[in-house]
Amino acid sequence: MGTVKLLKQIDNAFFREVGEIAQFTARFFQTVTKPKQEWEEFVNQCFWVGYKTLTLVGITAFIMGLVLTIQSRPTLVEFGAESLLPSMVSVSLVREISPVITALICAGKIGSGMGAELGSMRVTEQIDAMEVSGTNPFKYLVVTRVLASTVMVPILSSVGIAIGLCGGYLGVNIRGHISWNLFWHQAFEALSFGDLIPSLIKTFFFGFAIGIIGCYKGYNSKKGTEGVGQSATTAVIVASLVVFVLDLIAVQVTDLLGLT
């Protein structure tokens, strides 16, 4: 009996949250279409997103490119397909590794940052103060942040691909030898629009989801410092989860459209 009740409660809380996030997203679209955007704050936020995550994305992507190459080599050698190494690395990085790694890093850094920042602004009445001074806090704080992460995650993911390929180049050259030019030539030749476009679209959605969830958690933070911490952690957890779910949906959609 107790378990059923508990499950029901969890269920209710889950659907309520989904509903509230949907409402929050609707409010975002309502606000973003109204005239007068806060461009200055948007540029600021873009800068911050890039500044906070670029190093981490770069290092992680480089290591992933390197490790992927080193680990795939034996298998490819077995089939005498060692020369396919650059193509394989580039396709994996573009399609899956860089988008997902970038999105997870952003969920961790940006999602939690937004959750904590907006949460503490809510708790210390700074959001109320903005409203009283005639600035729409939703537009100033939420819309700019969501747009910034929507724009920046694809850019960061592209940077991640480039840096990851550098790692791949190093990985190929540890055992074998390939010239810089040839490596890049092979890496690009393997890519088609069917790889690039879905990856780009996917990262837009990742960025949007991270922004919406981080802001939703922060903007609706409960009173007290505990509430702020909770906003930050749940923002990361929910955003990471949503990234995986979106990834799953994306792979199904590209499959259906015959882009694989």
Binding site: E117, S120, M121, Q126, A129, S133, G134, T135
Partner: protein
């Protein structure tokens, strides 16, 4: 003359918690009205309703001749420019410098040219009013509690409002700083000829600054008189506050 703020039969509850019950009050031009009530009696809720940060359940609120529940968001914003608000927690933007904090309310209410020409002077004047000109490029975190309160006051003054609402302006400050803040409130009133709604449970502050006091007990206006008369009252519920 018409009162600057008039409230009729205001009701506000959170679930079963009836915070305000048929609350009535009026503030006249140039007057400092204080509301005295225990912690949790609904004082902050009351002024948040007046500035439309919270929805009320029923009742009428006329601020500067306008029924705030009938305004659209643009009209509400321009009305808010004429009402200064000092938050209980100061609510300074902690990612911005003092200058940016004070310039923030100008964003919406002044045009770009006006800001270019006048923002600097306005910020300096407001800081001078509160005696903290040297903090202009500091961050809120670098200031003491009393200084932060004054900066918050400067921010509330920057648009030269006709009414200022103070939510516990002296709570958490030492007696000397409290007196300084109270004096500041008086000098502001003199300089700008503004009216004020002062919410507090600090008797010294109320005594110094108010012309009239309303006792908020159990969500209603329990009594209304000058500070001196209330202090002499024999009613046990009122006496409780003054002992």
């Amino acid at each position: 003359m018409e009162p600057v703020i008039q409230i009729k039969d205001l009701n506000k509850s959170f679930g079963d918690n009836h915070v305000l019950r048929n609350f009535n009050m009026a503030i006249n031009a140039g007057e400092n009205l204080a509301i005295l009530g225990k912690s949790g009696s609904g004082k902050s809720v009351l002024i948040k309703c007046i500035i439309s940060l919270m929805e009320v359940d029923s009742g009428e609120m006329i601020v500067l001749g306008k029924d705030i529940q009938l305004l659209n968001s643009d009209e509400l914003d321009s009305l808010r420019a004429e009402v200064g608000f000092l938050f209980q927690s100061n609510a300074l933007y902690d990612s911005m410098t003092i200058r940016e904090n004070l310039e923030f309310p100008l964003r919406r209410h002044w045009s770009k040219e006006e800001r270019k020409k006048g923002a600097d002077a306005a910020v300096k004047e407001a800081l001078e009013d509160v005696g903290l000109s040297h903090t202009i490029d500091m961050m809120p975190a670098e200031l003491s509690g009393g200084m932060r309160k004054r900066i918050a006051l400067a921010r509330a003054l920057i648009l030269k409002p006709k009414v200022i609402m103070y939510d516990e302006p002296t709570t958490g400050l030492d007696p000397i700083t409290s007196r300084e803040i109270s004096n500041l409130m008086l000098s502001v009133q003199k300089k700008y000829k503004s009216a004020a709604l002062i919410i507090s449970h600090d008797l010294n502050c109320i005594k110094m600054t108010s012309n009239r006091v309303i006792m908020l007990i159990e969500g209603t206006r329990y009594a209304e008189d000058t500070y001196e008369n209330l202090r002499k009252s024999e009613d046990p519920k009122i006496k409780e506050f003054f002992d």
